[in-house]
């Protein structure tokens, strides 16, 4: 059962039928939701230092970001991309170790929560400064082209808030100039922290930015898993096939606070009644039930499996030692003989 999180990417396997892909995606979403709910309860219990940031309500978009990428593709997830990270191959232990400050995690206690990644495995480690990772993704793709690699793509995630940074603009523009096979998935979850769209931008539709960069632009209903899989899947396919860079703008509502410290009391009732405020996970489950893709027992089994995986990842990380200051080498550069002899 536990292989769900660790089975390798199936790039060589035959293309799954649409409903198989749907179920696979759903299972990652379920895992992400389960994991994040657990992280939230640990946070509430005072067991996590720093913030907890979840992707509740955004799992359908996110999972589609991770699911179509193959080994060798570049993925630059952001704050709300647990589903996509898992689908891309991030072990649950990377998450729990980072949140719980295990010295064995990929960040070794040096960085926390969502600021994690494994650049060697093509999962970039976001910095906080929004927008900054787009051009980094472009550079990674250029490196692959320099190396003569073929058939690769990169996917970089952004929120509608991050789209307003200068860094994002420069990254989009340079991607189009360099004609790298890039997909940018922008999730408009209607808030940047507490700030509603009307103080974030003034255009009618963010997808209208695509043309100004020389990207191809698409919109997607982020609450609808089928739509997400279709639209993001085909954007990835187009980028891989050599079409111009792709911008996909998804519409959802963030179904949580900005972080778990935030009660999101600024979210208006009116917005909560919008179609984009629906819970993509519930909708996907409803589809599964309606179309009878799974029987109730299997669904129950999947839930249990997700919970078991999460529990194990948490209990493993919890048992691991924290980093200790006197075991740190406190070197910010890898070239040890060039470390400045500052006291």
């Amino acid at each position: 059962m536990l292989e769900t999180a660790t089975r390798s990417k199936k790039s060589a396997a035959p293309k799954p039928a649409p409903h198989e892909r749907f179920l696979e995606a759903f299972r990652w979403m379920l895992l992400a939701r389960t994991l994040e709910e657990k992280l939230v309860s640990l946070y509430r219990g005072g067991l996590i230092t720093g913030g907890v940031y979840v992707g509740r309500g955004q799992e359908a978009v996110s999972v589609a970001c991770g699911l179509f990428l193959q080994k060798g593709d570049i993925f630059a997830p952001l704050i709300r991309d647990q589903a996509g990270r898992s689908a891309f191959g991030e072990p649950l232990l990377d998450v729990t170790r980072t949140y719980l400050g295990s010295r064995q995690g990929p960040m070794r206690g040096r960085d926390g929560n969502i600021h994690r990644g494994r650049p060697r495995n093509n999962q970039l480690a976001m910095i906080s400064h929004l927008g900054a990772m787009v051009s980094v993704t472009v550079g990674a793709l250029m490196a692959k082209r320099f190396h003569g690699e073929k058939n690769f793509v990169g996917l970089s995630c952004i929120g509608e808030g991050g789209m307003q940074t200068g860094s994002f603009h420069e990254g989009m523009n340079i991607a189009a100039i360099e004609q790298v096979p890039l997909v940018v998935v922008a999730t408009n979850n209607h808030y940047a922290y507490s700030t509603p769209n009307d103080r974030e931008f003034a255009c009618h539709d963010l997808v209208d930015r695509a043309i100004g960069y020389g990207f191809e632009g698409y919109t997607v209903d982020g609450t609808d898993l089928t739509d997400c899989l279709d639209m993001i899947g085909s954007a990835v396919k187009r980028a891989r096939a050599g079409r111009p860079p792709q911008l996909v703008v998804a519409s959802v509502l963030r179904l949580s606070g900005h972080g778990e410290h935030d009660d999101a009391s600024y979210v208006t009732d009116e917005i909560k009644r919008q179609p984009f405020a629906r819970d993509c996970l519930k909708l996907a489950e409803q589809t599964i039930v309606d179309v009878n893709l799974l029987d109730a027992a299997t669904l129950r089994e999947w839930r249990k499996d997700a919970a078991a995986q999460v529990d194990q990842a948490i209990s493993t990380a919890q048992k691991e030692a924290a980093p200790e200051a006197d075991e740190e080498d406190w070197c910010a550069i890898s070239t040890r003989d060039l470390v400045d002899p500052l006291e």
Partner: protein
């Protein structure tokens, strides 16, 4: 009544909005019902409609807009969500605000609030102390208040000053620090304060490190040493005279700052004191800064990365023995 460092910042802004119609507040999430990531502007949008404005995630444009407004008679206060994010506004701060008066004879009275410094679990991008970057460039005043009283009175002063002010407020002090009352008078910016008198060693510091230094002074008093602690209050201008006068009394100097070690405030103090007060020194002046790595997320690492009371005490004792 009891008021925190954070509340003092909020109260100062409320007063500024009340007393001066040129003032407006500009920043991410400062408005609405929310009142900022740290609630430093809580309630102000409602009390002062149209004058506490949310911005997009556009630090460069936030400062650019403030510069344009300031040039034309307004007194904007820009809140950066975290000091660390001002890196993307740095060009506007240094090259536009910082040069404008000198180039055009028209001053740019903006106040940029930087929630600064480390707190546990905040990691490399929500913990930085950037006062040394801003002080290095010409044209800016850089305030680093360490007390509730200064947080209040210096913010009011910042807005009154005709030149750009980078106001570094320390997040660790937000809730930790309390005072009985808001001050009715205060030292002017540019004057350091003797936070504790002593005659054996001078510790010069500012912002959150003041409180570590005071704790060390307290502790070393039990060992028979009298440590004088100087709170710089602003790192630019830097009150060299008060520091020199203190070193004249004690003969020993330890500078403590939370920013990165290469260059910066502690080096600047030492360079000034040795240039002008070399003969006053009975021992080699020393400094203590954060370590030369990004600021770690994990509390175990973080508390060793910043200078802490234990380290300061160790350095102080070594200096006292010389």
């Amino acid at each position: 009544m009891s008021i925190t460092y954070l509340e003092a910042i909020r109260e100062a802004q409320a007063k500024l909005l009340r007393d001066d119609e040129r003032v407006f507040i500009y920043g991410q999430d400062v408005g609405g019902t929310f009142g900022g990531a740290f609630k430093a502007t809580k309630g102000l949008a409602k009390e002062f409609p149209g004058r506490v404005l949310n911005t997009p995630i556009s630090e460069d444009a936030m400062i650019g807009t403030a510069i344009g407004a300031a040039m034309h008679g307004m007194r904007p206060i820009v809140e950066m969500q975290f000091a660390d994010f001002s890196s993307t506004a740095l060009n506007q701060i240094l090259n536009n605000a910082g040069t404008h008066y000198w180039r055009t004879d028209v001053p740019v009275p903006i106040t940029v609030r930087l929630p600064s410094g480390g707190t546990k679990g905040s990691g490399p991008f929500h913990s930085q102390s950037m006062e040394s970057l801003y002080a290095h460039y010409p044209g800016l005043i850089v305030m680093t208040p360490a007390t509730v009283e200064d947080a209040y009175s210096m913010l009011i002063e910042a807005v009154a000053i005709d030149d750009p002010v980078v106001y570094c407020e320390h997040k660790y002090l937000y809730y930790h620090l309390k005072a009985e009352n808001l001050p009715t008078e205060s030292l002017p910016t540019g004057k350091a304060r003797i936070a504790r008198e002593g005659r054996d060693l001078t510790i010069v510091t500012y912002s959150a490190m003041l409180h570590e230094a005071l704790a060390v002074a307290e502790q070393l008093a039990t060992e028979g040493f009298e440590i004088e602690v100087v709170d710089l209050r602003s790192v630019k201008p830097l009150d060299t005279n008060t520091v020199l006068a203190s070193v004249a009394r004690t003969g020993r100097l330890l500078c403590v700052g939370e920013s990165f070690p290469w260059g910066g405030a502690t080096a600047e103090i030492i360079a000034r004191v040795t240039a002008e007060g070399f003969h006053l020194l009975d021992a080699a002046p020393q400094r203590l800064n954060a370590k030369d790595t990004p600021i770690p997320y994990h509390p175990n690492l973080w508390s060793a990365h910043r200078p802490n009371a234990k380290e300061i005490a160790r350095k102080a004792r070594a200096l006292l023995r010389e």
